[in-house]
Symmetry: C2
Subunit: 305 residues, 2 copies
């Protein structure tokens, strides 16, 4: 899944861990979303359609990598990863709706409102949204209620109007507004950055690292979040729809300001690389235990989908 | 707002407390949903449109009444009431969408997708959903992280596919299925019962009453939840649209099985009254401190909207 860098140890570590996380998330979703024998069957099938077997699982991978810094049990970081991924999948289902981005294909499959119907898609998204919190605040996530409550609080902030949902609202406004670089940066920090930041911070929360001890991780998350979005904007221009598993070239068609339209391809590429270097520099206080976080930072801009 | 029973002390208590809760919830929403000066302004305006100045605030009233049993600070029960009400309002916004129940009027005003647009309605609902959790797990709700995490967990269960969202899915299926009384009862326990049950139980959670001490309250909540829905079905047949502030006579038009179509008006009315008596009987272990809960139980079937 990662590209370039050939067979360096870091790439091998990334590929192996990503494969483990991808399989673990699918297994967990399969258990947590088992289909009831009642009229809600269609709702669960729709959630499974969107949640299982798809995506790079970047957010669960970040929970795992950040948790590894503090020796968090892999089963615990996987569980929190499933909660973050459920939140991410819900946002994809709603963003794909006809009244939003109106997309037919996601992760190489029909979107939920295409495979099922719009009402089921709204409710499948709403259900995954609630389940993310249910899974987080279950004692199976942490025996420590302080940890559970802090996870819920941070996830709620990352998902709400000051996070993902607010960012999507700005994204809709972007089609009819003339946003400058500062506003596009803020839009992306909300729309994708907040959940990426939560994923990284969750590893530290699980280990009860106090807020002041999380500063380097916050810097890392902010930088890779922006680098990720710049790379996404570049892929929207240059990418291969078959590999991406979704429609591309949409921003340009909509006349929307993106990092690429505002900076040009070359400067956008340079900026993404600079952000990755800066993200890695934030980890200078850590040794080998941060190898995975470093590898993810590079992967974020080198991936081909 | 309450009807019948004339000027008994119980009705006076209900009216006075409801007025206090209604004003308190509006005040809290006004503070918690203050509009930012950025492109998310429309999102916040849409949330305010749906959340402020509307509704009977039954759920916050239940949090307050149950909290009163255990001397919970009124500011705290109001805050938790705002979180439950946010969850309720989000569900109304999404249920009203064209792809769901397709309603134009709610609480006497245009629905959010009519006053704004569909995308904004989806995101306003999503935002209130996340905010409910954000407000609950804030230390301002309780200094005790165990209380915060339990509130989040119970609210997530009440909102998700095994609660409100699952019930709405069953409700959509009801239009094309031939549900029997058992299935309609289960549908309503999920769709409206779960959040009503949470509202009552939250009062006990705030006072750290352990689950085994909450049995009478659970019985009370189950009974008034069903009575509330039976009364709603009766109003859908007999009610006044102007008073209800929403479209009525929709179930019949859709050929949907309801308590009224399955039991007939007379038996439905008897059943609602029997449930209220049973709900009040669950409170026999409590004295004067449960007067408000008793008054709410009667109000639930006697209200005219």
């Amino acid at each position: 899944m990662a590209s370039a860098d050939g067979d360096s140890g870091e790439t091998r570590l990334l590929l192996a861990t990503q494969a483990e996380v991808v399989a673990g998330i699918d297994r967990l979703f399969d258990q947590l979303l088992s289909v009831p024998a009642d009229p809600r069957e269609r709702l669960y099938q729709a959630m499974r359609h969107a949640a299982i077997a798809g995506g790079k699982r970047l957010r669960p991978l970040l929970v795992r990598a950040a948790g590894d810094l503090f020796h968090v049990d892999h089963r615990v970081s996987l569980r929190v990863g499933a909660a973050v991924e459920a939140m991410h999948v819900y946002s994809l289902i709603h963003d794909d709706l006809p009244c939003m981005d109106d997309d037919d294909i996601r992760r190489g499959k029909p979107t939920v409102h295409k495979a099922y119907d719009e009402a089921t898609a709204v409710l499948a998204g709403d259900s995954l949204h609630a389940l993310a919190f249910e899974w987080l605040c279950d004692p199976a996530t942490s025996a420590d209620p302080f940890v559970r409550s802090e996870l819920c609080c941070e996830l709620a902030r990352a998902a709400g109007p000051a996070g993902m949902a607010g960012g999507q609202m700005m994204d809709l406004a972007a089609e009819t507004s003339d946003f400058d670089l500062r506003t596009v940066t803020r839009l992306q920090q909300l729309k994708t950055g907040a959940l990426i930041a939560f994923s990284v911070e969750a590893g530290a929360i699980l280990a009860r690292i106090p807020p002041e001890g999380r500063t380097p991780l916050r810097g890392y998350a902010r930088d890779i979040g922006l680098a990720f979005q710049i790379a996404d904007d570049i892929m929207d221009v240059e990418g291969d729809e078959a590999l991406a598993g979704k429609a591309l070239h949409k921003d340009d068609a909509a006349g929307k300001a993106t990092f690429v339209t505002l900076m040009g391809l070359e400067r956008a590429r340079e900026q993404a690389t600079a952000l990755v270097d800066q993200a890695i520099a934030h980890l200078s206080g850590y040794g080998e235990e941060a190898a995975l976080l470093r590898a993810i930072a590079r992967y974020v801009v080198e991936r081909d989908h």
